[in-house]
Point group: C2
Chain length 159, copies 2
Amino acid sequence: MEFTPETVKQLIEKKIAFVERMGLKVLELMPGHVKLMAPLEGNENHIGSMYAGALFTLAEIPGGALFLTTFDPSKCYPVIKELTIKFLRPAGSSITTEIFLSKEEVERIIRDLSDKGKAEFVLHGELKDLAGTVVAESHGVYQVRSTDKTWAVVDSRIT
Amino acid sequence: MEFTPETVKQLIEKKIAFVERMGLKVLELMPGHVKLMAPLEGNENHIGSMYAGALFTLAEIPGGALFLTTFDPSKCYPVIKELTIKFLRPAGSSITTEIFLSKEEVERIIRDLSDKGKAEFVLHGELKDLAGTVVAESHGVYQVRSTDKTWAVVDSRIT
């Protein structure tokens, strides 16, 4: 399977039915940088703002998305270990989150993968409404694991 | 609106479309005690176990469910402040969670509501597969807020 940008976009938006049902969309997708959007419509809670589970999903998916854009899926795979989400304000519009992994952090992950066969990484996210107000903050702990214990090199496509 | 057990069940399962779409079901519902279930079917991730967002939602909804069974919705309302979920093992079957609020804790919440017009409470949850294995743990921080600042008594229906 070739991981072209369009293939990765389809994987993120369509591969998990739960994610597809909430209408999550990829806005930007490149090595070390993703921006995703969840629409309010269809994801409202009992008072008309975005339901916590939709905000969680928007906060969680960037880990997998960054994995797909930044690492080589034929050599390793990602696991989510833990995610904390703080709800700061009602989310009254579509919501976006934009997450970055620095070149230095990607290199550190690759070193750990080479040395130990696994590497942990943390993603901090801000979830913003259309006015740019932060409605929630996320702190996700992910792990990348090598699919081959003898493996020692991962392509990093970050520039 | 009268909050009969059937009404509360319908509110939990149907009021939020996001929750209805994942097929979350109420198994037990009483003051101070709820048990909920999420089916695996329709909620699978890319490797066939339950997607993190479905597990989060199963962990989050008990806060609202316990509020509805235990407090008087005409006098106060619940808010989620923060939730941490730790993913321990792949969730390979339908998953349940069962949460309790003790009589003492309900009384403490009522005292805080009377004194301050709001009260915080914490729910610890274990998410279990059909074999009883804990696949995830949740730690949710909720707040109940009075709808009337002069209000000083909340019915507690816990026994």
